[in-house]
């Protein structure tokens, strides 16, 4: 059995493989379109509760632990928790804005956590655009310095860009930055509404032209890597669910509420009341989400193979459109682009 089969089994057999921890909603940037509900109140999980959680997760076979936020480095016990995760053998990933990752902190991160990679947000190819989104002057220049530091320390970096109408004209230029650093650049084509339901971030969602541009830009890059051949649109060999939300992964907010994923804010339980293994095995809301995910997968099947490859996110559908089976506009665009690409003569 290969690794992809094993991963497929985590979906099929409900093995909690990846857990994303939103350690804090504090942040040293002030991104205009941030989806976090920074006004959310609750009792933060204490370090001892995180230790118990990590031990439970190690017993359950969880492999990936993702430290996120807000800005995870803003959590006062970030390094304590990170060391504990490393000691328990988790593959540790950190999702950061990179603002605090100067030489001293970056060295400490490598020494104490040895993360598999650090995911860093890039909001544009120049200070004007990046700083417009972070609302912190100088954040772009500082990020460029810190990225070089991370690379010099041989920390694996993945750049993530949420495409917006402010940065959609800088796709190629952002790729030049990534290539110059020798790091991967991923584009997220969906601006999320805030976790409190505020839809104002959608005002800077990418235009249809921007979506098209990034899709065909990425397809051309893939084609280059594949020696000029494009990939055919075969239906993905996936289990009977649209994604691994609540079947192989969960997200946990700073106050212990467990969600199917970072975009699907449907509470499954709370760690102040129950352990993660109790929540995972408890049925109820977990089962409900798994059923919805299966329904979403069926919906994609009816839409055709290109839909199944469209990056459709049932969590985004549920949060932004009220139902996990709504085939929303961005996914429809992606489906159309895939079909257009598949119809071109050089695709095999």
């Amino acid at each position: 059995m290969g690794f992809s089969d094993t991963l497929g089994r985590t979906w099929e057999d409900n093995i909690l493989f990846t857990v994303l921890l939103e350690l804090t909603y504090r942040c040293n940037l002030n991104c205009s379109f941030c989806y976090n509900d920074t006004a959310l109140k609750g009792v933060p999980l204490e370090t001892g509760q995180y230790r118990t959680l990590f031990q439970d997760l190690a017993r359950m076979g969880t492999m990936n632990l993702v430290f996120s936020g807000g800005e995870p480095l803003a959590h006062p016990e970030f390094f304590t928790l990170g060391r504990h995760a490393r000691d328990l053998g988790f593959v540790v990933r950190v999702k950061s804005n990179g603002h605090a990752l100067g030489e001293r902190i970056a060295k400490r991160l490598k020494r104490e956590l040895d993360p598999f990679n650090v995911d860093i947000s890039l909001h544009g190819a120049c200070a004007e655009t990046h700083d417009q989104q972070t609302r912190v002057p100088g954040s772009f220049e500082r990020l460029m310095r810190n990225l070089q530091i991370l690379r010099n320390l041989e920390i694996r970096v993945v750049l993530n860009c949420t495409l917006t109408r402010w940065n959609e004209d800088e796709i190629e230029a952002m790729q030049v930055i990534a290539d110059g650093l020798g790091v991967t650049l991923n584009f997220n084509t969906e601006v999320s509404i805030r976790d409190n339901g505020d839809t104002s971030p959608l005002a800077i969602s990418p235009t249809p032209e921007g979506l098209r541009r990034v899709f065909f830009f990425q397809a051309a890059r893939t084609s280059e890597r594949n020696d000029g051949q494009r990939t055919a649109v075969d239906p993905p060999d996936t289990p009977a669910r649209a994604c691994g939300a609540a079947s192989s992964s969960v997200t946990i907010d700073p106050f212990g509420t467990v969600y199917p994923c970072v975009k699907w804010r449907h509470p499954l339980g709370n760690l102040h009341q129950n352990s993660i293994s109790q929540i995972w095995a408890g049925g109820g809301e977990v089962q409900r989400v798994r059923t919805w995910s299966a329904a979403a997968r069926n919906m994609l099947g009816r839409e055709g193979p290109a839909a199944a490859n469209s990056g459709f996110c049932p969590g985004h559908a549920a949060t932004a459109h009220g139902s996990p089976v709504v085939f929303y506009t961005t996914a429809k665009y992606q489906k159309e682009f895939i079909e257009e690409l598949a119809a071109s003569p050089t695709t095999r």
């Binding site: 059995m1 094993t6 598999f116």
Partner: protein, 98 residues
């Protein structure tokens, strides 16, 4: 003292329902291993020498000792080649080991 190995510091592994998943972080390589493989790795990670690993497996699996000896040594060789294991600088005898 017997021949002994340990996981390289950059290697992470988990037992996923009887199948092992290994990640060599430095080279970003993922390796899937079967039930016997994951058990060998668990025992090595518990600081058992190769002889102790074979002895333990003999009590857990229905296989002749010579087959286990051959398979475990071959498998450990593959794991060393794949950058998963490295030899320990100093080993002490495991309980029950001659």
């Amino acid at each position: 003292m017997g021949e002994a190995y340990r996981l390289r510091p950059d290697v992470r592994y988990r037992n996923i329902g009887g199948e092992g998943v290994l990640l060599c972080q430095e080279v970003a390589e993922v390796i899937g291993v079967n039930e016997l493989g994951v058990r060998v790795i668990e025992l090595i990670d518990a600081d058992l020498s190769v002889a102790a690993v074979i002895e333990r497996l003999g009590s857990e699996f229905d296989a002749p000792p010579q087959t286990l000896f051959r398979d475990v040594h071959r498998y450990i060789g593959e794991l060393i080649e794949a950058g998963v294991l490295e030899s320990t600088p100093q080993q002490s005898a495991a309980p029950g080991e001659r």
